[in-house]
C-alpha cells in the first residue's frame, strides 16, 4: 500500500478541529448523547462540520478551509452557537477542556461506527481512556517538501502551543499537577510522539511504504504524531493542543500557528537537523507539567529559558508576519495572557481551589464555553 499523493492546497490556509465534551446537566459527568446532538443538527445549515468521535460523549466540530483569522473565528462562533442551541433543546452541556475532570473511563461507550469499533478492538481500554479532547489545526502547504520543512520547523514550537492551550489539569477526579495531562494519554499509543526526521517527500513516501509493508500501518491515520502530514488535504496537522475552554482561545492559537507557519515558509530561518529533537520530549514534558513556567531548552543554543519567555520572544520575532496576516492584535492578546500567567488550566484550577466540587467546575466550564468568556 502506498501513500496517496500530496494534494495541492492554498499556502497558509488553515482549518481548525475541536473535540468537545458532552455532559449531563444533572451531574455534569460525560453523557452518551453524541447521536442525539448529531441528529438535532442534521438539518442545520452549518459552515463547517460536526462529526462523531471515538466515544459517545464526544463530538468534533471543524471549520472549513479559511485564509483569515477572522473567518476561523466567525465560523467557530457560529458552530458553537448552533451547537449550543441544539444542546439546550436536549438539556445537555457542552464544554471545552482537554480532559473531563472526573469521568470514569470504564463507563464510556464506543461510538457505533466501523472505524471506532476497529480501534476499540485493537487498542482495548486505551481507546476508552482516549476520551480526551484536542484541538487540531491544519495548515495548507504549497508543496510536500514545504510541508515537511514546516512540520520539523514547527516542532520546536510544540511546548509553546501546549502551554497556550493547556486545559486538562484534572483526570479521573484528581488534580494531576499537570497543566496538560491529556497528552499523557496520547503517549500510550504505539505510534505517538514525534514524526521521524525526514526532509523530503520522496523519502517520506519510502518510509511510509516500509512501515506499511510491516503491516503496522495502513494509512496516515494510524500515526498519532504530534504533527503529521495529511497528504489528501495537502496540509500538515498539529495535534498537541488541548481543546481550549473558549472558541476565542482556539482561534487565537490557530492564528499563532498560521503566523509561525508564514514566518517559517518565507524566512526559512532554521537549518533543520535530527539533533533538534534531542530536547523535544524534555521540552514537551516541561510544557505539559508546568505550562508557561516550564523550562524550554533551545534546540540549537541549548539555552534554558521559561516557556513563557520563549512564547513572548517568538511573538516579537514574527510580528511582521502577524501584521501581514492581520493577526497582530490577537497575538498581542496572547502575549498579554502569557505575561499575566493566564491560561485555561490555571483558570480551571482556580475554580476548584475556590472550594467548588469538580462537578461545579465542569458546570462553570460549560458556561464559559457557551458564553464565549474572555480569552
Amino acid at each position: 500500500m502506498s501513500l496517496e499523493s500530496f494534494a495541492p492546497s492554498r499556502a497558509l490556509s488553515i482549518g481548525v478541529e475541536l473535540e468537545l465534551q458532552l455532559v449531563s446537566t444533572h451531574d455534569y459527568d460525560l453523557a452518551p448523547v453524541a447521536e442525539d446532538v448529531l441528529r438535532a443538527l442534521s438539518h442545520a445549515d452549518l459552515q463547517g462540520d460536526v462529526k462523531p468521535e471515538m466515544t459517545c460523549s464526544m463530538i468534533e466540530l471543524s471549520t472549513g478551509v479559511c485564509d483569515q483569522y477572522e473567518t476561523v473565528s466567525t465560523q467557530l462562533e457560529a458552530l458553537r452557537d448552533t451547537l449550543a442551541a441544539a444542546a439546550r433543546r436536549l438539556n445537555v452541556g457542552i464544554c471545552g477542556g482537554g480532559t473531563h475532570a472526573f469521568q470514569n473511563w470504564g463507563e464510556r461507550r464506543i461510538f457505533d461506527g466501523p472505524r471506532f469499533h476497529y480501534l476499540s478492538d485493537l487498542y482495548g481500554y486505551l481507546a476508552k481512556q482516549f476520551t480526551v479532547f484536542g484541538q487540531h489545526v491544519h495548515v495548507g502547504c504549497p508543496s510536500p517538501d514545504t510541508a515537511l520543512y514546516l512540520l520539523h520547523g514547527l516542532s520546536r514550537y510544540i511546548p509553546h502551543l501546549i502551554a497556550l492551550s493547556a486545559s486538562s489539569p484534572f483526570v479521573q477526579g484528581e488534580d494531576t499537577g499537570f497543566e496538560s495531562a491529556r497528552l499523557n494519554s496520547v503517549l500510550a499509543f504505539p505510534l505517538s510522539g514525534r514524526a521521524p526526521f525526514i526532509g523530503n517527500w520522496c523519502d517520506f513516501e519510502r518510509y511510509f511504504e516500509k512501515m506499511a509493508s510491516t503491516g503496522v500501518v495502513s494509512s496516515m491515520k494510524d500515526f498519532y504524531w504530534d504533527i503529521r502530514p495529511k497528504p489528501e488535504y495537502g496540509t500538515i496537522e498539529i495535534r498537541v493542543m488541548d481543546t481550549p475552554l473558549t472558541v476565542r482561545r482556539a482561534a487565537a492559537v490557530a492564528a499563532y500557528i498560521q503566523t509561525l507557519a508564514r514566518y517559517l515558509m518565507i524566512e526559512r530561518p532554521y537549518r533543520l537537523a535530527e539533533d533538534d529533537y534531542l530536547v523535544y520530549t524534555f521540552n514537551r514534558f516541561q510544557a505539559c507539567r508546568f505550562g508557561y513556567d516550564g523550562v524550554y531548552v533551545h534546540p540549537e543554543t541549548h539555552e534554558h529559558i521559561p516557556i513563557g519567555e520563549a512564547i513572548t520572544s517568538s511573538i516579537a520575532r514574527i510580528e511582521q508576519h502577524a501584521i501581514e496576516l492581520g493577526t497582530d492584535a490577537v497575538l498581542a492578546g496572547l502575549r498579554a495572557d502569557v505575561l499575566a500567567g493566564r491560561n485555561d488550566a490555571r483558570w480551571l484550577r482556580a475554580q476548584h481551589e475556590n472550594g467548588a466540587p469538580l462537578a461545579e467546575v465542569v458546570m462553570a466550564q460549560c458556561a464559559r464555553w457557551t458564553q464565549g468568556g474572555a480569552m
Binding site: 448523547v33 442525539d36 459517545c56 439546550r88 466540587p357 462537578a359
Partner: protein
C-alpha cells in the same frame, strides 16, 4: 423471686421480628433477580406483595400506621430527589417535551378510563383507577436508573416524565376524591378541597426548597452531614404535611424542582443516600405490600389486566406522538414509552389513602390496583431496564 427478669415461655417476639424477616427475604429476592440479570427492584416488588401481607398482614391498623412513616420518609426523599432532576428550563427550551408529557398523561388517563368504563360501568372506580394509572413508579424508575448508572436522553426524559405524571396522578386522584366528596358530602368541599391541596403543596414545596437551600449553604450534600440533614428535613416536612392534611407526594417533588430552578448547580447525594437509601427502598416495598390482601387480587384481576393494556397503549402512543419533534428518534421514543411502564409503591400508597377515607370504595379500588402493581412492579422494572439498555444509556458495564 422477680419473674420479670426471665423470658416468658413461649417467648413473645415484638413485631420487629417479622419486619426483619420480611426485609431479609426481600433483600434476598432482589439479589436473586440481580443474579438472574434482572433488576433487583423486580425482586423487591414481587417479594413486597407476597411477603408483606404474609408476614405483616396481621398487624393491626395502629402498628401499620406507625410503620407508615418510614414508608413516607422513603417516598418523600425519592420524590425530592426526582424533583431535583426536573429541570423546568428544559421545557421552555423544548416545549415538545412538555407536549410529550401531556400526551402521555392524557392518553393513559383517557384510555384506561374508557376501557374500564366500557367493561365495568362504575364511573367513579374507572376514574380513580385511571388517575392512579397515569403515574409511573418513581421508586422503581429511580432504582433502575441508579442500578444501571444510566445517563442520556431517554434517562433524562424518563425521569422528567415520571416526575410530571406522578404529580398529575396525585392531583387527578385528589380531584376524583373531591368528586367522591360530592357524592358523599357537600358540594362546595368537592371544589375547595383540591384547591387547598394544590396551593398548600406549592407553598410547602417553596418552604422545602428554601430550607434545603439554607441547609446546603452550611453542609455540602456530599459531606457526612449532608444526607442526614436532608433526611431530617424530610421528617419535619412529613410531620407538617400530615398536620396540614396535605398529600405527601406533591410538596417534596415541587420543592426539588424549585431547588433546581433557583440553583442549577449539580445536587448530588452519594449514590441515592448510600446504604441508607437502598434499605429504605426495600422497606418501602415491604410496607407498601403489607396492606395488600391477596384475596382481593383475584377479584380485580380482569379489570387490572384491561387497565394495564390500556395504560400501556396510552403511554407508548404518548411517547411516540411528539418524539421526533422533541428531538428523539423513533427507537428511543419507543424505549421511552416502554420505560414509563412501572407502577408500584406510590400507587399502593395512593390506594391506601383512599381506603382510609372511603373503606368500601377503597377496597374495590385496591383489588384492581393490587393486580396492576403485581404485574407492573416486577415486569415494569424489567421493561425500564430493557429500554435503557436498548438505547445504550446504561453505564453499568459494557456487556
Amino acid at each position: 423471686m422477680d419473674l420479670l427478669v426471665w423470658p416468658e415461655w413461649p417467648p413473645r417476639f415484638s413485631a420487629l421480628l417479622q419486619v426483619g424477616l420480611a426485609l431479609i427475604l426481600t433483600a434476598l429476592a432482589g439479589e436473586a433477580c440481580r443474579r438472574a440479570r434482572l433488576p433487583s427492584v423486580s425482586g423487591y416488588a414481587a417479594a413486597g406483595l407476597l411477603l408483606g401481607p404474609l408476614l405483616l398482614g396481621w398487624f393491626d391498623a395502629l402498628e401499620l400506621a406507625s410503620y407508615r412513616s418510614v414508608l413516607d420518609l422513603c417516598l418523600a426523599l425519592l420524590l425530592f430527589e426526582l424533583g431535583m432532576r426536573l429541570d423546568v428550563r428544559w421545557f421552555s427550551a423544548n416545549p415538545w417535551l412538555l407536549a410529550t408529557s401531556l400526551a402521555e398523561i392524557v392518553l393513559s388517563f383517557a384510555l384506561t378510563f374508557a376501557a374500564l368504563q366500557a367493561i365495568d360501568g362504575d364511573t367513579m372506580l374507572a376514574l380513580a383507577i385511571a388517575a392512579i394509572a397515569v403515574g409511573t413508579s418513581p421508586v422503581v424508575v429511580m432504582r433502575v436508573v441508579a442500578e444501571q448508572h444510566a445517563s442520556g436522553q431517554v434517562t433524562d426524559r424518563l425521569l422528567a416524565l415520571c416526575a410530571l405524571n406522578a404529580a398529575a396522578s396525585v392531583v387527578l386522584l385528589k380531584l376524583v376524591m373531591g368528586g367522591l366528596h360530592g357524592v358523599h358530602g357537600g358540594g362546595i368541599i368537592a371544589l375547595l378541597h383540591p384547591l387547598y391541596l394544590l396551593a398548600g403543596s406549592i407553598v410547602g414545596g417553596a418552604l422545602i426548597a428554601a430550607a434545603y437551600a439554607g441547609l446546603r449553604k452550611i453542609v455540602g450534600p456530599a459531606s457526612e452531614q449532608g444526607p442526614a440533614a436532608t433526611i431530617a428535613l424530610m421528617l419535619v416536612v412529613i410531620a407538617m404535611l400530615h398536620a396540614l392534611r396535605l398529600p405527601l407526594a406533591l410538596a417534596p417533588l415541587i420543592g426539588g424542582a424549585l431547588v433546581k430552578w433557583f440553583d442549577p448547580r449539580p445536587h448530588q447525594w452519594p449514590g441515592q443516600f448510600g446504604s441508607v437509601g437502598s434499605t429504605l427502598v426495600i422497606v418501602a416495598f415491604i410496607l407498601a405490600g403489607a396492606a395488600a390482601d391477596l384475596n382481593h387480587l383475584a377479584l380485580g384481576a380482569g379489570l387490572a389486566l384491561v387497565a394495564i393494556a390500556a395504560r400501556a397503549f396510552g403511554k407508548l402512543a404518548g411517547a411516540l406522538a411528539f418524539g421526533a419533534r422533541s428531538g428523539l428518534d423513533r427507537s428511543k421514543s419507543l424505549a421511552l414509552g416502554v420505560a414509563l411502564m412501572p407502577l408500584s409503591v406510590l400507587a399502593l400508597v395512593q390506594t391506601e389513602d383512599v381506603l382510609q377515607v372511603f373503606p368500601e370504595f377503597g377496597e374495590r379500588l385496591q383489588s384492581v390496583v393490587l393486580g396492576m402493581t403485581a404485574v407492573l412492579g416486577a415486569l415494569g422494572a424489567i421493561a425500564t431496564r430493557w429500554a435503557l439498555l436498548r438505547s445504550r444509556e446504561s453505564r453499568a458495564g459494557d456487556r
